[in-house]
């Protein structure tokens, strides 16, 4: 990727806390158009926290540093505003909403974002045609549209449904938090193909993952290691292989040695 590409997301010295507990402690990350980044790191290192802070979860307070999206400060923006501007979060644990059908939810989401972009909203019939194409992309059965949102979906089905939403909303920045966890081998390939086909030169993807396996299908430009609420190492895709075989401790030791 060339460094002339537009910066989509820029975090520098980002600090955030929840209920007074500091979690992000000076995080730096720059994501440009066309790029794919992977964030790896131990459980509890702050990966989901970072994802939710970017998406604007109200429980987190940003206490320092900067966080910009296309050069605009995100701090003042409500989560729905961020989403309308093109930020998408694929949830590690998608929420179940009984009584609200998946299809109706998808249409409302699509129309909200279309309206914000000045695009055409679709009526239920038009949307039906549109969504069927997207379902094919992810090899999902149309029956999922009539079911309650995520209710009773298997772990893998929920993740697939997240990517279906990404496909519909065409975000500029997609942060996919452990989308690969819970997917079987075939589903992983299908979801990866889906993500690859949505991704282009104008948007960027941040994958949060524990496994190198996903990166065989979605090739990242950068791999970051998160530890203690910071990114402590950045490398290329080979780093993932190294992490897979050696674990994280050496990266942490290396970082500590540098800091000392």
């Amino acid at each position: 990727m060339s460094s002339e590409n537009k910066i989509i997301l820029e975090a520098s010295g980002l600090k955030a806390e929840i209920n007074g507990a500091p979690i992000l402690k000076g995080l730096d990350l720059c994501v440009r158009a066309g790029e794919i980044h992977a964030i790896m790191g131990k459980n509890g290192s702050g990966k989901s926290t970072f994802s939710k802070v970017v998406a604007g979860h109200p429980s987190y307070a940003v206490t320092g540093g900067k966080l910009e999206f296309f050069g605009e400060d995100l701090n003042e923006l409500a989560p729905e505003e961020r989403s309308k501007k093109g930020i998408f979060l694929g949830f590690q644990y998608p929420i179940e909403i009984p009584g609200v059908t998946n299809g109706a939810f998808l249409r409302l989401a699509f129309n909200s974002i279309q309206a914000a972009r000045g695009g055409d909203e679709l009526d239920p019939l038009e949307f039906d045609d549109f969504i069927r194409e997207k379902l094919k992309l992810l090899k999902m059965d149309a029956g999922f549209l009539d079911r309650s949102l995520n209710e009773g979906f298997s772990g893998g089905e929920k993740k697939r449904n997240e990517i279906l939403q990404m496909a519909i909303l065409e975000p500029k920045l997609s942060i996919l938090d452990e989308t690969d966890s819970g997917l079987d081998i075939d589903a992983l390939r299908i979801v990866a193909n889906g993500v690859n086909s949505i991704h282009g030169d104008d948007d960027a993807i941040v994958l949060v993952t524990h496994y190198q396996r996903l990166l065989n299908y979605i090739e990242p430009d950068f791999i970051h290691v998160m530890e203690g609420g910071k990114i402590i190492k950045t490398g290329t895709k080979e780093l993932a292989l190294e992490l897979e075989s050696k674990g994280y401790d050496w990266v942490v030791d290396e970082y500590k040695a540098k800091a000392a």
Partner: protein, 478 residues
């Protein structure tokens, strides 16, 4: 709660104005004399006064129930006005004689009283404080032998029917509030659908409490003869006062062989303010008797108002193959309390009942479902299905479910399902991360939640009720 939820749940009460109209009231307090005065003011026959006095004497021996899961200050029954009627109370021959102030009041509430302007295809009886002020489409209904009039008129014009059925489903000894109502009820609606007639329009009563410190004690009696059918709607509002008013109604339904009664309520009594000051105490006894074989009674209620609600629309399934249904949405916000549910009493063979209850609690409110399914020894092959779902909005509200089962016949099949879901930060964040703002999210979740009940409401009522839920919840999400 976050401010988004807050602003969604907190909307001002739009029916909270008071009409300035001179009223004829009896001084506060209750005694045998007051009961006699009420009866006299209404020019009632001796038998009606006897009914009242018997009830009053019985009431004196009774104690207020304490088992509901609600708390409220002790009611001083001597501090209530038991009779308030808008003046002049001369009988009206047509709409044009109705006090223009009243017409305005009901226009404002969206209940036009002029038949020309009336709700399409709905006949309305309007009860203002203690008396019925008008009934629309009466003549048209009479052509088919349908009687739809105020209770007072029924006592005068159809004494045999009233005598036969009054108290036959809810006897005056039934409970504290039913006894009180039987002693002092002032008006209400009476419907009689003769054999084989399908009522061509929905019948409805609109109740309005206007006078501060007055109680409303109305009485509704619906009798559906063999093979008849009727859909009845009830709506209610009250002005905003900072004192509590007592509403203790009794509704009795009687369905003979193969008759079908559908009773729908959208209750929007004033609920008190966000600190729990003022509001209606809604202590109502509603019961339907499926007297004949294959008869059917279906209750649908949307309870959004009142400071305290205590009501259990019930079905006594006496006739073989009779069916009882109860569909309920009860919404509580701020400091409202609701203890509501149903009783399904299976007595006849092959009787079936179905209960769908949806409780929504927001603010600091408390919402309880209480339901009894009773299968008596002779009720062969009784079936019941109950589903009780609770929705919590925010962190500090409460939802409780108290299902009671008394099954004395082994052939019975009784199923019960329950669930609790909530609208909190995580749910709203999920919607927000897809570009959906909190108001839309709440409305979508709530509409989904109540769908199984709302589909049983008559169309216009469902539209009303959907709007009402939206208003009631505005400001509750944050």
């Amino acid at each position: 709660m976050s401010t988004a939820l807050d602003s969604i749940v907190n909307q001002p009460y739009r029916a909270g104005f008071k009409t300035d109209i001179e009223s004829d009231t009896v001084d506060k307090g209750l005694s045998e004399d007051v009961v006699r005065i009420i009866s006299k003011k209404k020019n009632e026959p001796e038998w009606m006064l006897d009914f009242r006095l018997k009830a009053y004497r019985h009431w004196l021996t009774m104690k207020e129930p304490e088992w509901p899961n609600v708390k409220y200050p002790k009611i001083d029954y001597q501090d209530i006005i038991y009779y308030a009627a808008p003046k002049p109370k001369a009988t009206k021959k047509s709409m044009d004689e109705v006090d223009p102030e009243l017409l305005k009041t009901f226009d404002k509430l969206g209940v036009p009283l002029h038949e020309r302007a009336a709700l399409a295809g709905v006949a309305v009886d309007v009860v203002f404080d203690s008396v019925s002020v008008t009934t629309t489409y009466k003549e048209k209904l009479a052509e088919q032998g349908i009687i739809f009039c105020s209770f007072s008129e029924a006592v005068k014009d159809h004494p045999d029917l009233v005598k036969k059925y009054l108290g036959s489903v809810v006897p005056h000894t039934d409970n504290f509030y039913a006894a009180l109502n039987s002693a002092v009820f002032t008006d209400g609606s009476f419907c009689f659908i003769p054999k084989g007639v399908k009522c061509p329009m929905d019948l409805s009563t609109y109740f309005r409490i206007n006078t501060q410190d007055s109680g409303q004690f109305e009485r509704t009696l619906i009798v559906a003869e063999e093979d008849s059918q009727v859909s009845y709607l009830e709506g209610c509002t009250a002005p905003q006062f900072d004192t509590n008013q007592l509403h203790a109604a009794v509704v009795e339904l009687v369905a003979l062989d193969r008759a079908d009664i559908k009773y729908s309520t959208v209750q929007n009594w004033y609920a008190g303010d966000e600190n729990g000051v003022g509001g209606i105490f809604n202590f109502v006894t509603k019961r339907g008797l499926c007297k004949g074989e294959k008869s059917k009674i279906s209750w649908t209620q949307v309870e959004t108002g009142s400071a305290v609600t205590w009501k259990y629309p019930s079905c006594i399934l006496l006739g073989d193959n009779s069916i009882g249904e109860f569909y309920s949405v009860a919404l509580t916000n701020h400091l409202q309390q609701a203890d509501t549910g149903t009783k399904m009493v299976h007595i006849g063979k092959n009787t079936r009942s179905r209960i769908i209850s949806k409780g929504i609690s927001a603010g600091r409110s408390n919402n309880s479902y209480r339901g009894l399914v009773k299968v008596s020894p002779k009720a062969e092959n009784a079936r019941n299905y109950s589903q009780c779902d609770s929705m919590l909005i925010g962190q500090v509200c409460g939802a409780h479910t108290f299902p009671y089962l008394e099954v004395d016949n082994k052939s019975a099949i009784v199923e019960h399902e329950a669930s609790t879901s909530k609208i909190g930060e995580e749910q709203l964040f999920y919607f927000a991360s897809r570009g959906i703002d909190p108001e839309e999210a709440v409305s979508m979740i709530i509409n989904g939640f109540v769908r199984d009940v709302f589909m049983h409401l008559p169309m216009e009522f469902a539209v009303e009720a959907t709007k009402l839920l939206g208003l009631k919840l505005e400001g509750s999400v944050g």
